[in-house]
C-alpha cells in the first residue's frame, strides 16, 4: 500500500517546477547575485532512500510549497519569505548540539548531512491556520543525530532554536513574536522515527524560504512546531518554552498535536483546505499519523495538553 511509483516519474508530472527554477536561476544571474558554490537554488540531493512513512497522496506543486510560507523572520505575509529570503546567507552554517548529553558537538551543514543516509519522506503538513500540503521532504530521523549526542538520564526534552540575525532578517523586528524562534519536543517525540531532520524538498536542497539549510519536520503536529533554519539543539531536563506559547499561551500549547477535537479560538480545527483544492476535508487525528504516534500520549489528556 505504501509502495510508490519511482519519484522521477512523479516529479516530471510537476513540470512547472523546472520552469520556475530556471526562471529563478535566470533572475538571480541577471541580478548579479553570486550564489554560494554548490548551494545554488536547486542543487540536487542524490541517492535518496524511499520511506514506508511516505504517503501516496498527490503532492502540492513546488511553486505553492515555495511561495506560501510562514517564516516571520522574513515578513508576516505568506508570499514575503520567498521574496525576502533570496539573499539569506546559509553558508557557513553551524548547528550546535548541547545540554544534557555526553557528546555535545557543533556541526556544519555538510558533516550534518552526511551523518545518516538521506531519505525522501512524503508527508502531510497541517498548518494551525486551517490549510495543509503534501510535501516530499528529504532528510533522516532526528534520532540519528540525538543518538550521536548520547543524551544523559537527565535529558527529558529537546529545545530547538532558529537562526536570527537582524541584518539578514530586518523584517523580524515587525514579526510581533519573540525571536530567535524557539520550539521544543519531549525526548520520546524527538526520538520518534517520524521526526525528521530535514535538508531538502522535491529532490533539491531546501530553498531559503522553507528553512534552509536544515530544519525540523514533525508531521503529526501543527506546522509551527517544524522549526526552520536550525542553529541550536539543546537536551533539557525541563519543558522548554516555545515561541508561540510565549506569545499567546491560551491559543498555543507545548504539544500542538493536530487534533480536530480541540478547537483553536481563531480557527476551527475540524477541517482543513488542502492547498489546490476547493472543498475542505476533515482533519485527521494526529494528522493521520495516529497509528504511529498515538501510543506516545497514552494517559495524557489531550484537551488540557493542547
Amino acid at each position: 500500500m505504501l509502495i510508490r511509483k519511482a519519484p522521477e516519474i512523479r516529479y516530471s508530472e510537476v513540470t512547472p517546477k523546472q520552469v520556475y527554477l530556471n526562471r529563478r536561476r535566470f533572475l538571480a544571474g541577471a541580478a548579479g547575485l553570486a550564489l554560494a558554490k554548490g548551494e545554488a537554488a536547486g542543487a540536487k540531493l542524490e541517492n535518496l532512500r524511499k520511506s514506508e512513512f511516505s504517503t501516496n497522496e498527490p503532492m502540492t506543486p513546488y511553486k505553492d510549497v515555495t511561495t506560501y510560507n510562514n517564516f516571520y523572520e522574513f515578513g508576516t505575509g505568506k508570499a514575503d519569505p520567498a521574496r525576502n529570503a533570496t539573499k539569506f546567507q546559509t553558508e557557513p552554517w553551524q548547528l550546535k548540539v548541547e545540554g544534557h548529553c555526553n557528546n555535545p558537538k557543533t556541526y556544519d551543514t555538510d558533516s550534518l548531512r552526511r551523518l545518516a543516509p538521506l531519505e525522501e519522506r512524503i508527508y502531510r503538513m497541517r498548518c494551525v491556520e486551517g490549510w495543509s500540503m503534501v510535501i516530499p521532504w528529504i532528510g533522516y530521523p532526528l534520532a540519528a543525530l540525538l543518538k550521536q549526542a548520547e543524551p544523559t538520564d537527565k535529558a527529558k526534552y529537546v529545545a530547538f532554536e532558529s537562526y536570527y540575525e537582524s541584518r539578514q532578517m530586518p523584517r523580524g523586528r515587525y514579526a510581533g513574536i519573540d525571536l530567535p524562534y524557539r520550539e521544543g519536543l519531549r525526548l520520546d517525540e524527538a526520538m520518534h522515527p517520524l521526526t525528521l531532520l530535514c535538508f531538502g524538498l522535491y529532490g533539491d536542497v531546501l530553498p531559503n524560504q522553507n528553512g534552509a539549510p536544515v530544519r525540523l519536520v514533525v508531521p503529526w503536529k501543527y506546522g509551527f512546531k517544524s522549526i526552520k533554519s536550525l542553529v541550536k539543539i539543546r537536551l533539557a531536563d525541563k519543558q522548554p518554552s516555545t515561541t508561540w506559547s510565549i506569545s499567546n499561551p491560551r491559543e498555543y500549547g507545548f504539544y500542538s498535536n493536530v487534533n480536530p477535537q480541540v478547537d483553536h479560538p481563531r480557527w476551527s480545527q475540524a477541517s482543513e483546505r488542502r492547498i489546490g483544492e476547493f472543498f475542505k476535508r476533515k482533519t485527521l487525528m494526529f494528522n493521520g499519523y495516529g497509528e504511529h504516534v498515538a501510543p506516545l500520549y497514552d494517559g495524557l489528556d489531550l484537551k488540557k495538553n493542547y
Binding site: T67, Y68, Y72, K78, A79, Y174, D263, R266, S268, R273
Partner: protein, 206 residues
C-alpha cells in the same frame, strides 16, 4: 477644483474607480495570480477594501470642511455604498467558500470566535445605512434622525478595526494603522461637532 467636483462626469469616473479593486481581483483570478490559497486571498482583499472604503467615507466630512470643498458631499453616499458592497462580497466569501452555507458552523463561528463576532457587528451596522441611503429615506426619517442613525458608521468602522486586530496572529501594524486613521478622522470632527451642538442649543430648532 470646485467646478471639477461639480462636473457631471466625475461621478461615473469615481464609480468606475471604486470598482477597480474588484476588477483587478477578477483579472488576477483569471490569470491564476491569487497565490497558493486563492480563497484566503479573496477574503483578505475584500476585507481590506471594506475597511478602506469605510475610512474613505468617514474622511469626506472632515476633508470637505478643511479643504473647503463642500461639493465632496456628492460622493459620500456612493463611497459608503461601496463599502457595503465590498462588505457583502467579503461576507459571501466567508459564507460560501469557507463555510459552504452550513448554518450550524456559521453560527458557531459567530458566537465562538470573537474576531468573527466583531466583523458581524461591523457588517450588521452597515445594513440600515445602506437601506436608508436614499433621498426618500432622508425625508421620511427627517434630517436629524437620519443623521443620528447614520452615526452607526462609527460602530462599523470601530468594529472593523477590532475585527482586524483580533484576527492577526502577531503582526499588528496594519490594524494599528487603520485604528490610527480612524482616531484622526474622529478627532477632526470633534471641534465641529461641539460647534454644531452649540448652534443647536442656541436656535432650539429641529
Amino acid at each position: 477644483m470646485a467646478s471639477l467636483l461639480r462636473s457631471r462626469w466625475l461621478k461615473p469616473v469615481v464609480f468606475l474607480l471604486c470598482l477597480l479593486p474588484l476588477g483587478l481581483l477578477i483579472l488576477r483570478g483569471f490569470q491564476g495570480e491569487l497565490g497558493a490559497n486563492p480563497i484566503e486571498y479573496i477574503t483578505h482583499a475584500t476585507g481590506d477594501w471594506t475597511m478602506r472604503f469605510l475610512l474613505i467615507t468617514l474622511s469626506i466630512t472632515p476633508v470637505r470642511r478643511i479643504a473647503k470643498q463642500p461639493d465632496l458631499i456628492r460622493f459620500r453616499r456612493m463611497l459608503g455604498l461601496f463599502s457595503f458592497f465590498y462588505g457583502c462580497l467579503h461576507l459571501m466569501t466567508w459564507m460560501w467558500l469557507d463555510k459552504f452555507f452550513d448554518p450550524g458552523e456559521m453560527w458557531a463561528d459567530v458566537v465562538k470566535r470573537r474576531f468573527i463576532t466583531a466583523g458581524m457587528v461591523g457588517f450588521v451596522a452597515m445594513i440600515p445605512l445602506a437601506f436608508t441611503s436614499t433621498r426618500g429615506w432622508i425625508r421620511r426619517l427627517g434630517g436629524r434622525n437620519w443623521q443620528r442613525l447614520h452615526r452607526l458608521i462609527y460602530v462599523s468602522a470601530a468594529a472593523g478595526v477590532v475585527h482586524y486586530y483580533w484576527l492577526v496572529k502577531s503582526d499588528i501594524r496594519l490594524p494599528a494603522l487603520y485604528a490610527g486613521i480612524l482616531a484622526i478622522l474622529l478627532l477632526l470632527r470633534a471641534p465641529f461637532a461641539r460647534r454644531q451642538a452649540a448652534v443647536r442649543a442656541g436656535t432650539a430648532s429641529g
